[in-house]
Symmetry: C2
Subunit: 204 residues, 2 copies
DNA sequence: GTCTATATAAGGATAGAC
DNA sequence: GTCTATCCTTATATAGAC
């Protein structure tokens, strides 16, 4: 098998992956049939199995590709020794937001359909997410120790950073009214302001 | 049919609803079979149909029950004429958080599985959510007009308020480390502080 | 590598005895 | 109201011709 044959196969496989990811997002993993994927790729369902091993493999590819990209980005921030923790958090937050703006299919499938992974991938995937959240919590604690993030329970702050981006799913349906830049800056502003060490919030 | 027979039927139906909602959350709507529900209720699958019309009816009940509860609570806040918009938003946010803490099964099913509703319920459900988000945006704009919420794009702020609570899903798996009260106050603090009209955030 | 045909399992829902 | 038995559809995946 020469190189061009290999490349063609990879292109085909990548097309299947792209179609499948979109359908998994639109209809859900369990409600998406191999026939649905095959229809949009333009072949019969049986032909898909010349390129992939199973439907589950497509889900694995999506989930671990995203997990890898997110983990690598976080590692970059962790190693920016000259940066403040708050700056690292803002960079991570902006990475999350841009992923949800530019790669919505993949992040939604990884977020919502990941629970349908089979073992041992399910366990590995959930452990990886747990580690990821711990690492973000660690940056938050560093920021508090250095005094440029206000003292508070770090766990809810981490959850907020992890979850804020989810609203972007709604934004995609009405993209015209608010620009991607305004959306990103607006979200970042709420969160980062909420972390500043300024004792100015008085309950009524 | 006397009153006690009616009540017994409703109790049974309510039990089926409760079991189904939990399974829909744990396994997803499509991956939950009538046989799964029946097993936990303690009857055969066929017997369920003496109490409910279809599996889809259980999903409808969950989604619209939640939509109704949320809409009514928002209406209460809208009619608190003496309150500041920021106070209304905090009350709404706390209602969301408590729902995600105390009724996680139902809110998760309504949020994640609602897309599997059949027509015309799907359209009605999505329109209702759209209206709900518009109403929250309206309160935010009121707060800006009155000067007790900082001027900014209202749309990302609304998304943040809608989405912050989603992290609570993770909290339920490790309930011991942070109390429900600390979680609620921690989440509220980040968001509400991020809305205050204090020009103290300078980008580096 | 793609096709047709099919194996095998599971799904929601119904019929009819009790 | 609950049961057993079953209808009918759909699902993933495989076999084997071309």
């Amino acid at each position: 098998m020469n190189r061009s044959a290999n490349q063609k196969m990879n292109i085909r496989k990548e097309e299947i992956y792209r179609v499948a990811t979109r359908l998994f997002r639109e209809k859900g993993y369990n409600a998406t049939g191999m026939r649905d994927i095959a229809l949009e790729v333009g072949v019969e369902a049986a032909s898909l199995y010349n390129h992939i091993r199973s439907k589950s493999e497509l889900l694995q590819q999506c989930c671990f590709r995203m997990a890898g990209d997110f983990s690598r980005q976080l590692e970059e921030q962790e190693q920016r020794n000259s940066a403040l923790a708050l700056e690292k958090l803002e960079a991570v937050l902006r990475f999350h937001i841009r992923a949800w703006i530019n790669r919505l299919d993949e992040v939604l499938v990884a977020t919502h359909e990941g629970k349908y992974l089979e073992e041992p991938w399910l366990t590995e995937f959930m452990q990886e997410r747990r580690r990821y959240m711990k690492r973000i919590e660690h940056i938050i604690i560093q920021g508090m120790d250095h005094g440029h993030i206000r003292r508070a329970e770090p766990y809810p702050i981490m959850l907020t950073i992890m979850s804020t981006v989810r609203g972007i799913e709604f934004w995609h349906r009405k993209q015209q009214e608010v620009s991607a830049t305004d959306l990103e800056d607006g979200l970042v502003d709420v969160i980062i302001r909420g972390l500043l060490p300024i004792p100015s919030y008085h309950r009524s």
